[in-house]
Subunit: 326 residues, 2 copies
């Protein structure tokens, strides 16, 4: 995770010092990641107890970062806190915003950040639901603001969705991509803004069908989860949907898939899809089954179990990649 | 993968000898798996060269099975071939059908298999698209036929979707489940028949949105694949969609997710979904991009790379599970 390559990317990005706005779960996870790659971090958050809270969250992230190959010794020395926004962003190379998902809050925030920052500071929002063009309305140079949307938890999940606006400067976008690569992430750039970006749209698409199958009594939520972890999850952690079907087409590849499995086959399945909603009955079903099948374990236990599995998968894939270079 | 538990399950199922109908890619993969767990296999296939073809396919599966902990020494001694269907199914404990996906073929096949088999032989179809109730129309006891749908490749992927019909005998279903557990699989039972069963419906649901995002020019197929492998794939190989959102709801669990992220959030995304089809322009786009991004490697190379990653993930998850028992 932290190697010669990532150091070169980080150097190319010019980022040595970053400010994180909001020390919640996402902000603290970003902070742990940045610190573990040698980037100094200032956290700006109005909560008077923020330092203690962030330190607990970072402590929770350190074992995984360490297991993934980061040097975490002494990293906390580069962490500081600054409640005054103007002071917090003065002289830093990058701002990663993780504040509340309220458009008015973000608009005002970016106006103030822009006014207090250097001309070449990178402006990134972690928002999952408010596009950059909607947050930047009060900025002098709205094209400076870019979405850098992590996949939770940011310190573990490789993906960062980078969503520029039409006028974003390409040199600046290149620095953003270099920075995220420099902290061990896999940044993917979306060509246009779209509600939910890509990962959350895909998640919503599959979840709609999951809800339908449970609502219709085909499977319980537990059986559905087990079906996914024992098939599609393993497939998609290895290859994405398109490459999977390119291989599913055998020696004829994607062309064979489209002709013989897509047209007719998949289109017939689509025709059987029905809409669902979080109506009372369906919501109740999900909540009751979550209690029935997962209620014996606390959320904390379940989350620790998830993180252990995710770290194991990341390490396993990293070992394979280092063999074949793919 | 092959341990004391699996031997006990296999013993409970009473299956020592199985006939596989059709020695294609799926049939040979099942054969490799069954043999690696000590089950004798007879392959019934009209192709005069079937023995050579199957042996090549099994040889390809052995390294992965071995790496996953199966004892593959001497397993080929229990493999035989029999072109006469009546002789092939006489005296075996289980028939796993992997023939062509044609309803008339399957109806006639099961009529003949039933007439030539013992009363307690288990009848399983690998079909992904023809439900048991449609295949069993010419049988004396149609309720004996059950879907045992593997996820490709069967020797690697844990999932088997078991789909009984309403009248299926529960003792027989229990033997089916024991058998699949006995050969190291994770069988999940669907409560009702549904087109595509569960895994393929979920795959179709996500692929529809994947196609939409590529058609709209938001991302290339390569970027979409990389987004999935670096986020959702890892998540879903660890936890299924429901448990993921139960955890996504934080300390409030599923109830918090439904109220704060489902209603409104996810429902708003659903409202932006549009339909797609394998029309000429979209099909062309997928085929061209598959060539552009994956065309430098042969399908065989790409498939080997996929299998290496999948084996690595399976081993990693197996190690984690053996630590925490989850």
């Amino acid at each position: 995770m932290q190697d010669q390559n990532s150091r070169e990317y980080l150097h190319a990005s010019g980022v040595q010092k970053a400010t994180i706005i909001g020390g919640g779960v996402i902000g603290a996870s970003w902070a742990a990641l940045f610190l573990a790659h040698g980037v100094a971090v200032i956290i700006n958050d109005p909560d008077p107890d923020i330092a203690d809270k962030v330190k607990v969250l970072i402590d929770g992230a350190v074992p995984a970062l360490s297991e993934l190959g980061c040097c975490t010794d002494g990293m906390m020395e580069k962490l500081s806190f600054e409640q005054d926004l103007t002071k917090a962003v003065a002289g830093v190379d990058l701002v990663q915003e993780c504040g509340p998902e309220r458009i008015d809050f973000k608009k005002d925030l970016w106006r103030r950040i822009e006014a207090a920052s250097a001309n070449n500071t990178l402006f990134l929002s972690s928002s999952s639901s408010i596009p950059a063009s909607a947050q930047s309305g009060s900025m002098q140079q709205p094209e400076r603001l870019v979405i850098g949307h992590p996949f939770n938890p940011p310190h573990l999940m490789p993906l960062v969705e980078v969503v520029p606006v039409a006028k974003s400067d390409r040199t600046m976008i290149a620095r953003v991509m270099d920075f995220y690569r420099g902290v061990g992430k896999v940044p993917l750039e979306l060509k246009k803004e779209i509600p939910g970006f890509v990962a959350n749209r895909l998640q919503a698409a599959i979840f709609r069908e999951c809800m339908y199958l449970v609502r219709e009594g085909i499977v319980s939520i537990r059986d559905l989860d087990d079906i996914v972890t024992n098939s599609l999850g393993i497939r998609w952690a290895s290859n994405g949907p398109f490459l999977s079907f390119h291989l599913g087409g055998g020696s004829g590849g994607m062309a064979h898939f489209v002709e013989h499995l897509g047209k007719g086959g998949m289109e017939q399945l689509w025709a059987t899809f029905e809409s669902v909603s979080f109506d009372f009955r369906t919501s109740r079903l999900l909540i009751d089954q979550a209690q029935q099948f997962y209620g014996d374990h606390s959320i904390v236990e379940l989350a620790e179990n998830r993180d252990r599995k995710q770290v194991a998968i990341l390490k396993a894939l990293d070992d394979v990649s280092s063999v074949d270079g793919a």
